[in-house]
């Protein structure tokens, strides 16, 4: 079996009375796009901060490509690039210089870092701002700079802590496209987010975390199928001839000439429902569906919405 890119086992951490992490286990394969999904304060940032050496763990192990993140910190940190949620501020140096410094901390000399620095500035639309100070950049540019900084030593693993928090829709989509591009080129990506859409669109696997515990882990579609429920509304001409027994296997409610179904797998179940209704001689006028999402999964697991 291939060594996981990131392997977290039994991780615990407390801040005074508050149990921030309570036995977190996560394994991320090389090349995987993985999402850590949870509300604010769930333990997402604490988990990645322990992984990257910013926070001391209490118990448990954190490994990167099989090496311990404390004993072999030089190896593990050189494999990781991190784009933090909080913007850093620097008053003294232009952003290009800051990227060279960042590469230097990872043992890369300026002349060796130059091609990647140029390419990142170009790709992230920061070329014309290379001589600007951070304070002169817009919020969106600062977010892109965070990502450039994380990638300047060409890490195998990219960790993004809420990368699209507070950015506009256009930039969010642009960043998603860029992350998908990086993933297609083999980067392992760990993303923390509380945006359901982001996790569903980008991640191959997600872990749902709340109150410092991983509640469920798997591919978004599988989780949705297992724990989510889609809403299907069938509007009929009338309900004359409907035998309750025909629909006894379904969860549904009636509202005049409408039937509201809650089903786990609409792709499989909807044709069956249509068949039952047609066989009963009912005329279907309209079908409306609300697709199940990770939001429903989260609701099912925690009893609350992700942004509550």
């Amino acid at each position: 079996m291939e060594t996981p890119a990131i392997d977290i086992k039994g991780l615990t951490k407390s801040y005074g009375e508050l149990k921030a992490l309570n036995g977190v286990n996560i394994s991320i394969k090389k090349g995987e796009f993985f999402g850590l999904l949870g509300p604010n304060g769930a333990g997402k940032t604490t988990t990645i901060n322990i992984l990257t050496g910013l926070v001391f763990k209490e118990r448990g192990s954190t490994k990167v490509f099989g090496k311990d993140t404390i004993k072999d910190f030089r190896y593990t940190r050189s494999k990781i690039g991190i784009a933090a949620q909080e913007f850093s501020v620097d008053w003294f140096f232009p952003i290009e210089k800051l990227l060279f410094f960042q590469a230097g901390y990872y043992g890369i000399k300026p002349k060796d870092a130059k091609p990647l620095v140029d390419s990142l500035l170009n790709r992230l639309g920061l070329s014309s701002k290379r001589n600007s100070r951070l304070r002169q950049l817009s919020g969106g540019m600062k977010r892109r700079f965070q990502i450039a900084k994380a990638l300047v030593h060409d890490p195998e693993i990219l960790i993004l802590d809420e990368p699209t928090a507070g950015v506009d829709v256009e930039l969010r989509r642009d960043l998603w496209k860029y992350l998908q591009d990086l993933h297609s080129r083999g980067k392992t990506i760990l993303l923390t987010t509380h945006y359901i859409e982001e996790a569903e669109l980008l991640c191959e696997n997600v872990a749902i975390i709340d109150n410092g515990k991983i509640l469920k882990m798997g591919a978004p579609k599988e989780l949705t199928r297992e724990l989510g429920e889609a809403g299907i509304t069938v509007v009929l001409e009338n309900l004359n001839g409907l035998n309750k027994k025909d629909l006894e296997n379904y969860k549904y409610t009636r509202d005049k000439n409408r039937l509201h179904f809650s089903i786990k797998d609409p792709d499989e179940e909807l044709p069956k429902i249509i068949r039952v209704l047609s066989n009963a001689g009912l005329h279907i006028q309209k079908i409306e569906s609300n697709k199940s999402s990770l939001e429903d999964v989260f609701l099912n697991l925690t009893g609350k919405g992700i942004n509550e």
């Binding site: 050496g53 926070v55 940190r77 933090a84 620097d90 140096f93 410094f101 230097g104 043992g107 900084k149």
Partner: protein, 253 residues
């Protein structure tokens, strides 16, 4: 050892204070020139000589030392606190840099600023009032040791401080009084006995008299004790700041 990383962080630290030289280099020179002008034209009329040295010249080694140690201290202290408060520190703490490398880079950055300021004030004394330098090697060695020691101390303060207010308190209530009471402007022999005794527990007193000896050949303290004190302070503060950085206290959760 991550040599490229260490070198990068040193360049960053040195580049940082040179980028704002109006705040970090020029003030010490201007203040010293003012001391020379004011004391030279006023007090020197009344205090002609101390230990056979004209008053303005007598105070200059002390001014070199004060500039050296305050600049070295404030460089590391303010840089570290600034990085903490502006969220820059995670860039270093998540990089493959050890606590030893981070501490050394900061100390070297602060020591360079201390030395630049100390040497510039020394040159000002030489060119402005024709101050002789009896032992150039010894003078430079003192400037180096004091820069290094107080740069390390500044790093300790910067790492432990949580606000600018705390840092200012340490500098205003601790460092500046000790510098002034270390005998910059007077010989401790001019003080009453109890005050002389108090001066002996002030480490800055030994630094000022050490450099005064290497520059002018006069001193209140034995030069050997001054050298020993400078070495002890340098080793002590260096070890303490490296250990504190490795512990991650106040910079990691």
């Amino acid at each position: 050892m991550n040599w490229v990383g260490l070198n990068t962080l040193i360049k960053r630290e040195v580049g940082r204070f040179f980028a704002v030289y109006r705040q970090t280099v020029l003030p010490g020179l201007i203040t010293t020139a003012l001391y020379i002008a004011i004391f030279g034209f006023t007090l020197e009329q009344r205090i002609s000589e101390i230990q056979g040295v004209p008053y303005t010249m007598f105070i200059l080694p002390g001014l070199i030392m004060m500039n050296t140690l305050t600049n070295a201290t404030s460089n590391t202290a303010s840089s570290m606190l600034q990085m903490k408060l502006l969220q820059q520190l995670p860039d270093l703490l998540t990089a493959p840099l050890s606590g030893l490398e981070i501490a050394l880079a900061y100390i070297i950055g602060g020591a360079v600023r201390g030395m630049v300021n100390g040497i510039l004030v020394l040159l000002l004394g030489v060119f402005l009032i024709g101050m002789p330098v009896n032992n150039l090697f010894g003078t430079l060695m003192f400037i180096f040791l004091v820069s290094w020691a107080f740069s390390s101390m500044g790093l300790l303060l910067g790492q432990l401080a949580e606000s600018w207010d705390q840092l200012a308190m340490m500098q205003n209530f601790f460092l500046t009084p000790l510098s002034f009471l270390g005998g910059i402007f007077y010989s401790i022999k001019m003080l009453p006995n109890w005050a002389q005794t108090l001066s002996y527990i002030n480490p800055i007193y030994y630094m000022i008299n050490g450099i005064r000896y290497t520059v002018l050949g006069v001193s209140d303290s034995e030069v050997e004790i001054s050298i020993l004190m400078a070495i002890v302070l340098t080793i002590g503060f260096t070890l303490a700041s490296i250990l504190l950085m490795q512990s991650g206290k106040k910079i990691k959760n």
